[in-house]
């Protein structure tokens, strides 16, 4: 009788999501199965050295399992230069400017390591095993939260543009003479469809000077029948509809996924958004596009970051991986042609 081969632990990639309050990480197989329980490391001190230390801790802990780790992907908030693995700047970490995160972490990590924008990572995650799973063509994902993030995936691969900055759906102009945005523009989607924008618009409407008014409280008021709160959510729907109609006409996507905490207020904005899409999008392109709520919740970012890592080592997408020796990583496997 032949000896039975010992059962091998599956190979995994590590997906990490660097958030403003915590760093989440998980071990993910090439098929998108999460192995074991995801971990989390808190972020209390947001200064650069402290966060980098915690990020290092998370990566090392994630790599310490019994599985063979193939690659590490990290989703980070802010503008990045993905080919260089640099965070250019981040709204969550004000003192970060051109931080070479990949180079710093690579000192402790022997496998390929890639950096991805967190909204892009979430889009990859939802496309892979979330609300967009199994679809072909273009997936548009919006992350509606404190701000509005976006990501574009085409047949499983991110549309990244020249520097990896593509997907800034939050900074699409909806009304050129609209409210001022933190980015310097006026009338961006983010000024209507983020917690920050909703609260500002509610204050403008009501003259309220409540200090502690949160987006969640605003949603609660709208549900309880506060007419002004309902109106700012209707404006959110309007702005979202204008932007989605533009994206439908521009990209002819097959799937649109709305995630982030604010997507939980779905009934407060979606009808108005659909009306606007119906009014503005080319009918043949709008017909059949699936508009869905995200499925993976806060796990989307780390799962998508693992996806980016797998794509880097299999040569099927991400191009920003460099080995510890400073050479560009050669793909070890290619997609079947």
């Amino acid at each position: 009788m032949p000896k039975r081969a010992p059962r091998r632990a599956p190979e995994v990639s590590i997906g990490v999501d660097l958030g403003g309050t915590g760093i989440r990480f998980a071990r993910v197989t090439v098929d998108g199965d999460v192995i074991g329980r995801p971990g989390v490391v808190p972020v209390v001190d947001r200064r650069k050295a402290a966060v980098l230390g915690q990020l290092r801790r998370a990566v090392v802990e994630a790599c310490s399992g019994s599985q063979a780790v193939e690659a590490v992907g990290i989703g980070v908030p802010g503008f990045i230069r993905r080919d260089r693995g640099v965070i250019v700047r981040s709204p969550n970490f004000p003192d970060w400017r051109n931080v070479p995160v990949r180079q710093i972490l690579q000192r402790d990590v022997a496998v390929p390591l890639v950096i991805e924008n967190d909204a892009n990572a979430a889009a990859l995650g939802e496309d892979w095993i979330g609300a967009g799973q199994g679809g072909r063509g273009i997936l548009v994902m919006l992350t509606l939260g404190t701000g509005v993030g976006g990501g574009l995936v085409s047949d499983g691969r991110l549309i990244t543009g020249r520097d990896g900055m593509a997907g800034e759906i939050g900074h699409q102009t909806v009304d050129p003479s609209g409210p001022p945005c933190t980015c310097g523009n006026t009338g961006c989607l983010e000024t209507y469809a983020s917690y920050t924008g909703l609260v500002a618009n509610y204050r403008r409407r009501t003259g309220s000077s409540e200090d502690e008014l949160s987006g969640l409280e605003l949603a609660a008021r709208a549900r309880r029948g506060d007419a002004e709160a309902q109106l700012v959510f209707a404006d959110m729907g309007w702005a979202l509809g204008v932007t989605l109609a533009n994206l439908i006409n521009l990209l002819n996507p097959s799937r649109i996924v709305l995630g982030g905490g604010l997507s939980g207020a779905w009934p407060l904005f979606i009808r108005r958004a659909m009306q606007e899409i119906d009014r503005r999008a080319i009918r043949a392109a709008a017909r059949g596009v699936l508009i869905r709520r995200a499925k993976l919740g806060t796990a989307a970012g780390m799962i998508g970051a693992a996806r980016a890592a797998w794509q880097a080592v299999t040569g099927t997408g991400h191009t920003g991986a460099v080995s510890r020796l400073g050479r560009r990583v050669r793909p070890t496997m290619r997609a079947a042609s």
Copy 2:
């Protein structure tokens, strides 16, 4: 002494551009060289049977040279289902509805035949051997004419979306409460930045009821100092700038190419457009994007259509080719990996 191999005529693909007044065609090598003089067949009668007859004539004439023809690509105006080779509808040919152009022409053509939207074809042409030549990343092309067409090319391949309808830049909303557009929406780029839109806006401003006012005449008036004409061109620049800033933030393109007859009025709108980009686009994404006038003029469409044909037979892009026998064409060559 070994016999000298006889000099072989190069293999060519045929690029055809179906326009409202004429059908242009050329023989184009795999390297983008146009062999011999392009041909043209007039379109006088725009009814379906007549145009299809002329299109057939053009394709047969184009295939009659001494070169081995590998494939035929046809750029057509209007919405298409590229995988099926069907023109869904066309502003230039009002009685065309769901015309299976590829299937009809394939009866007379033994090689793979692909249909592409004309603005997409022009984008492919400019990306290949025109104003975008040699660049990587995303190229955005706008064709400014009677309407506004658009095309998106990423690393040499069209971004087509689910049904091949992507790239409708003319129907991006600039001002949600702007002028009505033929597409049913209001405030589309096309209502500001096309000959049709300019003339309508000039009439609105001046109360003019001149019947024969053309876009060319309007440009001439602006150049001669007509303040109202200059203002409609400034509004065109504003609308173009708003849209290009959105595209820069969304796609982080490396190159933006402006073509079509109206791009000849460049000095009348470009400064205003650049101001608006500067004001609205994310600086890091706007920096370094090349904004250029198209180079290939009216030849862009047929050259790009030939490019689409080459991509279909080499398996490097276009997926809409079917052989005469009704089987999907197997790529005969693959891009080096």
